[in-house]
Symmetry: C2
Subunit: 262 residues, 2 copies
Amino acid sequence: HHPNALDALSQEGLSEEPVQQEREAAGSGGEAAAGRRATGKGKQLPRGSRKKSSSKKKSKGEEEEGWGESESGSSESESGGAERQREHPFIVTEPGEVARAKKNGLDYLFHLYEQCREFLLQVQAMAKERGDKCPTKVTNQVFRYAKKMGASYINKPKMRHYVHCYALHCLDEEASNALRRAFKERGENVGAWRQACYKPLVSISAPLGWDIDAVFNAHPRLAIWYVPTKLRQLCHLARSNSSAGGSVLTAANELPPPPPMF
Amino acid sequence: HHPNALDALSQEGLSEEPVQQEREAAGSGGEAAAGRRATGKGKQLPRGSRKKSSSKKKSKGEEEEGWGESESGSSESESGGAERQREHPFIVTEPGEVARAKKNGLDYLFHLYEQCREFLLQVQAMAKERGDKCPTKVTNQVFRYAKKMGASYINKPKMRHYVHCYALHCLDEEASNALRRAFKERGENVGAWRQACYKPLVSISAPLGWDIDAVFNAHPRLAIWYVPTKLRQLCHLARSNSSAGGSVLTAANELPPPPPMF
DNA sequence: AGAAGGACCAGTGGTCCGTA
DNA sequence: AGAAGGACCAGTGGTCCGTA
């Protein structure tokens, strides 16, 4: 809507396969990963992020090889105009491990959350400068801004889908790393790993009375993310079950306000 | 949507003209006015709040007198089944002054904000009990709840319209009271008084860098209200103007981040 | 005219499900 | 089959404007 100084940075060219560079940027980072550089410089596209040619139907033989089925060259760093429609799927990787063969690793996944945070910080700075309402969370506005800045690989469904995985990474990196190693070892897929991230978070919330919002809000990098519905429900359920041996429950007073502080 | 224990309290009968009682409840109150009693008991309806007969067209002579034009009896405490469609308009009253003649006073206006706060607290308690997302502001959900609890005289456009007036009352009750007396003295209407409430708030925000959000958030009773758009714009404008004599301004760096701390 | 509030609307949070 | 993300939808913040 409103043009501003940052518009000039949008929609730039894409560097080819900056995997090693990305490896450094996407190191399983807690506080150390912050404010490294300005976001949106187009240098953080990992493992084959490309702009999709806007609804252009490839004209039969023009560049038929290059995206999709072409199995030649497991490394995708050649064939200049390669284009693809979606991000590569995630696989379970250990901390520091580089995903290969048209896959993205979990360090990269978590790095996307750091990028979103940087986009939010920019949106907040702009809002304050303009006297607009200032978002405190990663909102639609931030996703729109990320897209405008060329980070087309960031989208809302994906980020919301894995928020609780990132939460575990933030809150207990050791536990998160152990889980990643275990699930890689077992050859589990990303969906199974993702599911397994819920339980440790419920445990983390228990000492705070299963108040998962309090858990998120207490961590500066996490506070900018909405608590996922399912995680909230699981914490609520755990709180309910914890009081199962208690007194008679009524509809109006179903749950004990201060739960055991174990 | 979800029935709960509080449903039973909704839609009750209305006591007639509890003005004196209301005077006590609606005393121009800062902290002292809080948590006096449970909200929604139907006892706080002021100066002739009535349920409107649901789209019933009064059947010619049934109760033709009683609401609207009937000028008989300036006090409205008689004629049992009196009904009316809208709240009486506000007039500028001094602190403690009771409005008469089908008008509502400003103590009552401010009291509505306290009521909304109590409704929010109830909604928050219910959300926590149910494991739902917990609102931190007076949202549509809270207005819906207020209506369900029989507080049909509370509605969103009205509350949003006068938020900044309530803000001044919270932040500088002396200044607010002085303004009320001055505008009553001059015979100004409510609209003029409302307009005049903006300027003192801009001044209050100045030492905080005209950050009106920070001003609201620093006050517990105010933090639950969204900052009105116009107030935010006025503060932004004041910040801009304060730097008018400064250095050359660019589009990307228009405003001085730390403004004068006068 | 001054004012109260029903009701509308653009953009939100949330996530399903057609897609690859 | 497992997974990425366009696009939809119910309910939001915001306030206009038909009403009295």
